[in-house]
Amino acid sequence: MATKVVMEALSPTMEEGRLVKWVKNEGDAVKTGDVIAEVETDKAVMELVARADGVLRKRLANEGDASAVGTLLGVIAGADENIDALIGGAAPAAAPAQAEAGGDTDAKAPANQAVAETREAVGQSSVPASPEQSQGEASSPPQPSAGSTTKGAGSAPPAARLTPPRPQPPPAPKGNGARPGAAPGKAVERQRTSPLARRLASERGIELGGIQGSGPGGRIVKRDIENAKSKGGAARSAAAERLGSEGDFKDIPLTQIRKTIARRLAESNGPVPTFFLTAELDVTRAAEMRTQLAEMGDGYKASFNDIVIKAVALALSEHPEVNAHWLNDKIRQFNRIHVAMAVAVEDGLITPVLFDADRLQLWEISARARELAGRARERKLTPEEYTGATFTVSNLGMFGIDQFTAIINPPEAGILAVGGVEEKPVVFDGRVEVRQRMRVTMSCDHRAIDGATGAKFLQTVRRFIENPLSLVI
């Protein structure tokens, strides 16, 4: 049976992808799971794998093309199977244009397509498609036909119907956040999901947004959930599981006062009512420790950023109210501590996560952070490596920034912005001394964290960083 190769949602927030490279040629035999193409998502270059056994009969997209999620890219089928119907239905770009030109004969094209699509939808395979449709347009990649909707012969643009609209991730997903790139204002397309699949996903903490449905019209069915789980193919499942297993968090129901605070502050200050707390920390001793560690050998080296992450992780363990997500109807406090670090990449940023950071030794944080940052810059991170954080640290000290405010990555409740280390004259033990100082600014979602709560958290961060031995014992 012929199977479509479509642009899959390979990251939780992906809306379109760029086909970087075809790995398989037309005519190549493929097996389920074989890599057939490389696709650049909003975050990384990912592998697009075959969802069926057969022969890659047709490649409909060119390398370098960007396509919306759900767009038909190719067809896998038996060597001799007739795939005209699939390809014919997939060539929508010109159909509305024909209709636009007017005339009876032209008007038939969308009508035929409608028939094809209807049959497609009910799962029938043999569809009579006119030859010129299947041949002539096969090479032109389907485009999201913006603007053509209003023209034409009154039928919806075929592209919109043939390729079921892929879901956007829900605006405020449970468990882990829409990354900064997500556009919260966009319309949420309907995700087709069987009731059972929906229930299983919810029970297992799997986000549906990252799953490609294999049922009619892209419906996510039970087997897709099971595959997502077993293959780890769903970006969110691993991260969601990490955060979602029972006992790893505590949901705090919202009190009336908390609800009112949340509502009023959001009205006043955008969807995430944020306030900022700045503290200047003395890192002279931390700097000394760094020097000592470096002298012990490369394996012990730690950056200021590593020290901050370790201190933050330990502080979070003392302040669970900060290690939390704002979930609109509740605040979820996590028992485990997963600290994300913002890493600048060529055309944006990404936030790889140090899972269970409070349990990692400083040298482990250091090694892991270096490795993650390296792969982030090469865009080689897998989605589960950059989702699932409970708190984020962002550091621009290396750019000579003294102090800045970072934007919270919802649904996380806070983020710590770290400035550069600077020598300054300060009053120390009753006399003026030159000390190493570093400014940190915490952004807090006021719906979840109050001023005093954030301040106490920063006090703890200060205690750890100013007494750096506590970070290595």
Partner: protein, 326 residues
């Protein structure tokens, strides 16, 4: 256990109940001297005599009414219709008299009677004589509707129906009379309103009743060779319906195909699907599909009749679809 035909299983039930309770009597067209149009009452006239095995004129409404009156005064009549297609003439007695007597008399009259006869299509009997009536009858509060699909269920349900103090509509499969199966001898009662899982499987539930039970079992055996196992739930009684059995099965398999002999519109399957979507919504991995007679009067032509009837191939196609195999 003895292997007997569906027909003989019914005869056993009639004979045993006639012997057990002398208030029980059988009447209908040709039931006595001719031994029944389908020979279900064979030998009963000789054994029980003309007061208990009663031939009637061709007057369905009349003798059904006699049955209702007899039940009101304490007898336990069994009214045989030569086919349920003829029973349309008697529906006023079935629906307006028998089904409502207890209710409208304020509980003064119970109605311990059975209306029985062959139901559904046979072969080339054409549009007027090839109809499955269970959805019509099951629509009526006050009636119980039995649709046995196997000889053992035919015997056990008929005995239960005769002993029931409510009017029971008993729909036999015209094409089932010659089918054979193991039937327990003597006292064998199948309780009304209890389904039976005829084949156990994990991949898809087949909810069915009556003649289609055999089709359900056949496709279960066929598909098992491909590794697809079906849970075949034989409702046995359409009203009351054993909804717990349906739920148990669908919760196990997450998908269902409802297989019935009658038409689609307002059919028994519509009721089953309604129940499933309400009670098993979160268990469903696919829409529930129905297999039924095409929405036309039954054609006489053999090829068209075959095309109009539900069959194994149509049922398998539906199963494959809910399994997302096609």
């Amino acid at each position: 256990m003895a292997v007997v035909t569906y027909r003989d299983a019914l005869t056993q039930a009639l004979r045993e109940e006639l012997q057990r309770d002398d208030r029980v009597f059988l009447m209908g067209e040709e039931v006595a001297q001719y031994n029944g149009a389908y020979k279900v009452s064979k030998g009963l006239l000789d054994e029980f005599g003309p007061m208990r095995i009663v031939d009637t004129p061709i007057t369905e409404l009349g003798f059904a009414g006699v049955g209702v009156g007899a039940a009101m005064v304490g007898l336990r009549p069994i009214v045989e219709f030569m086919t349920w297609n003829f029973a349309l003439l008697a529906l006023d007695q079935v629906v307006n008299a028998a089904a409502k007597m207890m209710y409208m008399s304020g509980g003064q009259y119970s109605m311990p009677m059975v209306f029985r006869g062959p139901n559904g299509a046979a072969l080339q009997l054409s549009a007027q004589h090839s109809q499955a009536w269970e959805s019509w009858l099951a629509h009526i509060p006050g009636l119980k509707v039995c649709t046995p699909g196997t000889p053992a269920d035919a015997k056990g349900l008929l005995k239960a129906a005769i002993r029931d103090d409510n009017p029971v509509v008993f729909l036999e499969g015209e094409m089932l009379y010659n089918t054979k199966g193991e039937v327990p001898e003597g006292e064998h009662i199948v309780p009304i309103g209890v389904a039976e899982v005829k084949r156990e499987g994990d991949h898809c539930s087949i909810i069915t009743h009556g003649k289609m039970v055999l089709v359900g079992m056949k496709i279960a055996d066929d598909l098992a060779k491909e590794g697809i196992t079906l849970d075949v739930v034989d409702l046995r009684t359409v009203r009351p319906m054993d909804v717990e059995a349906i739920a148990r099965s669908v919760q196990k398999t997450n998908r269902a195909v409802v297989l019935e002999e009658g038409w689609e519109m307002c059919g028994v399957g519509a009721q089953v699907v309604d129940f499933i979507q309400r009670e098993c919504f979160d268990d469903l991995d696919a829409p529930v599909l129905r297999v039924h007679q095409e929405d036309v009067p039954m054609p006489y032509a053999k090829n068209l009749e075959r095309a109009a009837k539900p069959d194994a191939a149509k049922a398998i196609a539906a199963v494959r679809k809910v399994l997302y195999l096609d």
